[in-house]
Amino acid sequence: MTRYLVGVDVGGTFTDCAVVDDQGEIHTAKALTTPVDQSVGVVDAIEAVAATLGVSLSNLLANTDRMVHGTTMGINAIVTRSGPPIGLIATKGHGEALFIMNGTGRTAGLSAQDVINYPETSLPIPIVEPGFVAEVTERVDREGKVVVPLDIDEAKAAVESLRARGARSIAVCFLWSFMNPANEREVKALIERADDIFVSASSDIAPKLGEYPRTATTVMNAYIGPAFTAYMKTLGARIAESGFGRDITYAQCNGGVMTPEIARSMPVRTLDSGPAVGVVGSAYLGGLMNYPNIICTDMGGTTFDVGLVANGRPVSREESILDRYQLHLPMIDVQSIGAGGGSIAWKDHAGGLRVGPASAGAVPGPACYGRGGDAATVTDADVVRGIIDPDNFLGGTMRLDAEAAHRAVGRIASSLGLGIHDAAAGITRIVDNQMADLVRRMSLYRGYDPRDFVVFAFGGAGPVHAGLYAQALGIHTVVVPLANVASVWSALGAACAEITFTVDRTQVLRSPFDPSQINAAFKAMEAEAHQGLARQGVPPTEHALRHSVFMKFTGQVFELEVDLPGGDLMPDLAEGLVGRFADAYEQRYGSGTAYRAAGVMITLLRVTAIGQGKRPTLRSRQGLENSVPAAATARPVYWAEAAALVDTPVYSGATLRPGHRLNGPAVVEYPHTTIALHPGHCAHVDEFGNVVIRLESKALQ
């Protein structure tokens, strides 16, 4: 009997499903997202895949070994502030940390251009109403010593008062609780006695230095907790009814998955999990395809997202910003700018052409959508250039108004004194440069040379533009991965994700380090990691642990994670740690930056626990064609390289087979995207079905 792995990704508009069978075949479908009860759309999407397989939903689910679910539910609740009233209990004197935001509330996450325009900036709407913060007498110091004992009566009164005011969810965040969680746990236990309240303690949710991001993370958890747990219950029941006998696992922003038990208490970890598992999927599948270094780019309607896979591992970060709140949420580092198909071209005060960051979004959308938008967008420019066929958009399911695109781009062109094609190519060039800048920042800034990477191009607009933003950075290869699957990549990534969590210990140690002290701490953490994996149902044979320490130079800010081999840390390695750290530091921050004279500190020990369960394989096709296929049709396309309309062959993606070779200029059309193959570029379809584009290494002109 065929066995399956199922990945589902619930987005704002579509719910995507990817099913990988044990032959490595991938089957996909999309269904409309059902906002009131998202579990309906989830089942619809799985059912749609079952239909393509010719099996019943219950049959598919009965033969499914693992189902991974990614959702934007939490982030939507936060962005729209549709959560319930929540309470916050903080250390006396420090209940305002969430509002003070270290002074960053007006500017965090904004571009430098936006930050300098004071009248256009504001503070975010509070996640916790100011009247819902209670302060309790207690104080722990930096060593974890109790300086002021917890006033339990005050705590009781605080809980009662918050409850009486309608708080259904309470976050508890005390200073230095990650060094000594006793006071926080005592209050948590107090709240747990009232079983109608969802409780989040910061020492559980984000046990790290920094009370503001720790509080913000805990409060976000409290905010989305009640609705998320209710959804989990509904979804679990509906899927069980449909024939799935196991637990659904949930995608996390660190790229791993978690069991319902963990997801119920830490729903904050689902934030931004979609893009994260997309990168994890790229790392895993890229590994199968022999691409260890990947720049994952996703150009959709409003944003351009970039993530990185280096040496087979996704690059992650320890902090993130959500709606200007700074969070202690280790996540796969995916950064965005406002550059997408809907980005609007406009003429500035001095008569210059600009593109974005304002977007026409889906409604009214680009002018060519015919939904009332009349601003020229990147998609309109692509239509004017002839890259996008107005009669074959989204596989012909949506007809575009080419006239409207020409009118919109024409207006900008004439206001600038340009020809319409020059203006369209100009819009493209500007947006491609913006994207190249983000990729440059994501790679070079982290000490990676983009020329050592291939670009994976996802999203409806990614393969249209990737050729140019990759070329601008001297990158040689662009891959449109499993071209027909690229539009449900996050769902596929979810199917590839493993159970992953970290056990962290804040421990301030100064060099020279005592290995026995480090080993003792790691021993206890390993035990905790194994217990955690066991609790999530991972059999001991599938346990994998990774050890690392976070180190910094005394007096400096940046911490760096340094990997350690497993087992006991021998004295010579403890001595060598400083050298390893300094080397890693210089690799990341540049030669000469390691300031050894200041002394080195360890700030955190980490054990990453991984449940190495079953993962998909990819089917590789034998007997490659090695031929140039016949083009379906041809049409005039404006290529800036030729500065002219060139009659260009157009291929249907459905007809391409492994081994097929194409030479630019050419256009390849898929239902959800279009590949623009520029003059001078060539492409082939590899054994897995990826379209691999080879670029000349020349700078963007």
Binding site: K92, G93, H94, A97, F99, I100, M101, N102, G103, T104, R106, T107, A112, Q113, V115, I116, N117, Y118, P119, E135, T137, R139, D141, R142, V147, V148, P149, D151, W176, E211, Y212, D348, G352, L353, R354, V355, L416, A425, G426, R429, N433, D437, R440, R441, L444, Y445, V508, K552, F553, G555, Q556, V557, R588, Y589, G590, G592, T593, Y595, A598, A699
Partner: protein
């Protein structure tokens, strides 16, 4: 360019960077030994946008490189640095978004270097220069500039520059702020522009000469190297851009950016009337124990499309809080950028082209050698607030530009304390718990200011977590809160933080108060809005609190700390070495943003919301906002009546500088309004004359040919009468300063509130040139203002 009128008669240029701070003179001809690249091609619209965006990003990457390589808290948390990119002649093309005033200085360092270093030692490809000379262009000696020329085909094409605040650069106090300095010789010796790298290689002797000054030599070296890495990266990226597009095209884009910015600012200025705007602030505490009340004046004259600034009327330089003229200019530029050129990629060069500066040497804001300057932040902040005040009052004349009108933002008094000591593990530390940098923004013409929301002139500055500071210093925070009191008004200012500490885990520890006299707010309110308290530092030794913490008692705010430690005292201005042991407490209260408009015009719903949130005391609501509170809410009907009575009371009690006679309010038409004159007044053409008319009631206050304040009523109150959180000026100064509010004789609406001595006459703060209302002149746009 920038030729000061007041010194034209002198044969020698006085602003030479030696006796007096440097200012570039207009007739500079670069020496032939250093040929400049001037070839420029006009870019097409697409290339312009692409290359402009690249230039902006190169400059950001320059900053990122410094952050990465230095890893310094000062750079990363406080953003106490900046980067910039310049034309061959030094004109600024792009500034970074960090400390804006750092790079408001940058063009001067480059110009000085061109003037003085072209021949000997010469300016060559691969060179890197450095300086930290306040008389050339640095706010104080800690702010070290590193800058490098880029050559193309043997010609000097451009410059890249950065400036970072070094943590210690010598002088008699750790951290290099020397509150007790009598002159610059108490402080770190400034280094004028010298060559740090030759042929791309650092000159070891020069580096060691500089690093040797520091108490933290290793950190100092690392910071220096990070700055060199920054200019190297930026220079390389710029070279790549030239390789890609050609030098002439890149230069064309740089020139066009400056031209476009100048054009945008000129356009904005051309829609405003000509005139002169003036501001006076009072200060004291120029050194420890100093109680002399002095004046700092800023005057701004607008003619057509140009603005000219001078400091005539400012008192002479004294003790430690002195500002070199270049830094004075830089603070003016940093504020003007955000109000007149906010959409121009921080292209300071274009802005500076339309500005003229005419400081008079030897004054507090244009000090001459050898004045002490490490306390320049105080006059610097005041200059920034004065500039904001003057430009706001000017922009208020055009309703289309009134969005960029705001009162003074927080931190105008620069309350700041540094903690030094050794903890129980034997580790030495020196840190400034920079909660000041959480900031507070000003009340806008259409919205309240934002609490703890940073500052507009250092947009990316921030503080760190309490836990981070506790890790760095031997203190335990008792509380860190937003203050309840900011500047009152129709729109209220954002409130800044107040932080309370007890020494914790200290072997020994002491605090240095770097603050000037904070009893005198450095930022005025606007159009009847009130100033905000200036903050202060407080100390209490042997508090007895250590014992009580263990017993479960913990003060959670300022009031509780004062109840627990009744002998808490205000720390003297510039007092150094105040003990902060394990039973000693300390509180720092920072200055909040000031208010905008008459408080009686504040929306009652907002007041009710503030009352319910506990952000406003009932007493203040009644006394300042004319609100009748009942059951914790606002009684609207009774409040309307109370507000009428308050207006009547103001008129009854109001004094005047000249006789005010009863009149029938003018029932004018919208078409008669030539310009707004702020929040409460319009300038109207009545018959043959132009008059200042109250917008609220139509009272014709005065002909526009005279100072309307002479013909208004005014009421005065002491600062503590506004709010008890104001420190009595007499506690720090020999003379007092009061808040005087000018109001309409017809309806009692406040037109403006200012800080002055009781004996001061009416400052003519807005003196419009009526000729600009004649048809065909630049100031008359023919655009009627909204009455």
């Amino acid at each position: 360019m920038n030729a000061p009128d007041s010194v034209k008669h002198e044969e020698e240029w006085p602003f030479d960077g030696l006796r007096n701070g440097y200012l570039p003179r207009g007739d500079f001809v670069p020496p032939s030994c250093c040929p400049l690249h001037t070839q420029s091609t006009k870019p097409d619209a697409i290339s312009f946008e692409v290359i402009r965006s690249n230039l902006w990003n190169i400059n950001l990457e320059h900053g990122d490189t410094i952050k990465k390589a230095s890893g310094s808290q000062t750079v990363i948390f406080a953003n106490d640095f900046n980067t910039s990119l310049h034309l061959q002649n030094g004109e600024s093309v792009v500034l970074g978004p960090s400390m804006l005033h750092f790079t408001g200085l940058a063009d001067m360092a480059i110009r000085w270097t061109l003037e003085h270093r072209s021949v000997n030692p010469g300016i060559e490809d691969g060179d890197v220069f450095m300086h930290n000379d306040p008389w050339v262009g640095a706010a104080h000696q800690q702010d070290t500039s590193i800058y490098a020329p880029l050559f193309h085909e043997g010609r000097l094409f451009a410059w890249v520059l950065n400036a970072c605040h070094a943590r210690d650069i010598g002088g008699v106090e750790p951290g290099s702020f020397v509150p007790q300095a009598k002159d610059v010789f108490w402080e770190s010796t400034p280094v004028p522009p010298i060559k740090l790298c030759k042929g791309g290689v650092m000159l070891q002797d020069v580096e060691e000469m500089f690093v040797r000054k520091s108490r933290l030599p290793h950190l100092c070296a690392l910071e220096l190297r990070s700055q060199v890495a920054g200019v190297m990266t930026a220079r390389r990226r710029l070279q790549e851009l030239i390789d890609r597009y050609g030098a002439a095209v890149v230069k064309g884009v740089m020139n066009k950016m400056i031209d476009d910015c100048a054009g945008a600012v000129e356009d904005r200025l051309s829609r405003l009337p000509d005139g002169t705007w003036r501001n006076v602030i009072y200060y004291t505490g120029a050194g420890p124990g100093d109680r002399v009340l002095r004046r700092q004046v800023l005057n701004m004259e607008k003619r057509g499309k140009r603005l000219r600034f001078d400091n005539a009327g400012t008192d002479a330089q004294a003790l430690q809080t002195n500002l070199p003229p270049g830094t004075w200019r830089a603070h003016i530029v940093s504020v003007a950028l955000g109000k007149l050129a906010y959409d121009q990629y921080l292209c300071a060069g274009g802005l500076i082209r339309v500005l003229d500066f005419a400081p008079i040497p030897g004054l507090r804001t244009s000090c001459s050698w050898p004045a002490a300057v490490t306390g320049s932040s105080n006059p610097g902040r005041s200059t920034a607030e004065q500039t904001n005040h003057l430009i706001s009052k000017m922009l208020a004349c055009d309703p289309d530009q009134s969005k960029y009108v705001w009162a003074a933002e927080g931190i105008h008094t620069m309350v700041s304390a540094a903690f030094h000591g050794r903890d129980l593990t034997g580790r030495n530390f020196a840190a400034n718990a920079a909660d000041m940098l959480a900031g507070a923004t000003a009340a806008l013409s259409f919205a309240d200011g934002l609490p703890a929301a940073g500052r507009t002139v250092t947009p990316l500055s921030r503080t760190a977590d309490v836990e981070t500071w506790e890790r760095e210093m031997a203190v335990l925070y008792l509380y860190r809160r937003r203050q309840r009191v900011s500047g009152h008004g129709k729109w209220v200012g954002g409130s800044a933080l107040v932080s309370g500490f007890i020494g914790h885990g200290a072997d020994y520890q002491f605090a240095n108060n770097n603050t000037s006299a904070s009893a005198l707010p450095g930022g005025p309110g606007l159009f009847g809005g009130f100033p905000a308290p200036g903050g202060a530092c407080f100390s209490g030794q042997a508090s007895g609190l250590r014992q009580r913490l263990g017993d479960g008692f913990m003060p959670g705010n300022s009031r509780e700390l004062r109840e627990a430690v009744p002998h808490l005292r205000m720390v003297e201005v510039k007092e150094v070495r105040v003990p902060l042991g394990n039973d000693d407490v300390w509180e720092t209260r920072f200055a909040s943003g000031s208010g905008y408009g008459d408080p009686l015009l504040r929306d009652l719903d907002r007041i009710e919301r503030d009352l319910r949130a506990g952000a406003l005391d009932e007493d203040v609501a009644t006394r300042l906002y004319g609100v009748v509170v009942s059951a914790g809410g606002v009684d609207r009907k009774a409040s309307m009546g109370a507000r009428q009575s308050m207006r009547a009371q103001r008129r009854a009690q109001g004094k005047s500088h000249s006789k005010v006679t009863e009149q029938t309010p003018y029932q004018g038409k919208a078409k008669d309004v030539l310009h707004a004159l702020g929040e409460g007044l319009d300038l109207c053409r009545i018959g043959q004359g132009i008059h200042c008319v109250c917008r609220e009631c139509g009272w014709v206050v005065a002909p526009a040919t005279v100072n309307y304040k002479e013909h208004s009523l005014y009421v005065e109150q002491s600062l503590p009468e506004i709010d008890p959180l104001f420190v009595d000026p007499l506690s720090q100064s020999d003379e007092t300063v009061i808040c005087r509010s000018y109001l309409c004789p017809g309806c009692g609406t406040l037109f403006d509130s200012l800080l002055c001595r009781p004996q001061d006459g009416a400052l003519w703060d807005v003196q419009l040139d009526l000729r600009s209302f004649e048809p065909g002149t630049s100031g008359d746009s023919g655009r009627p203002a909204n009455p």
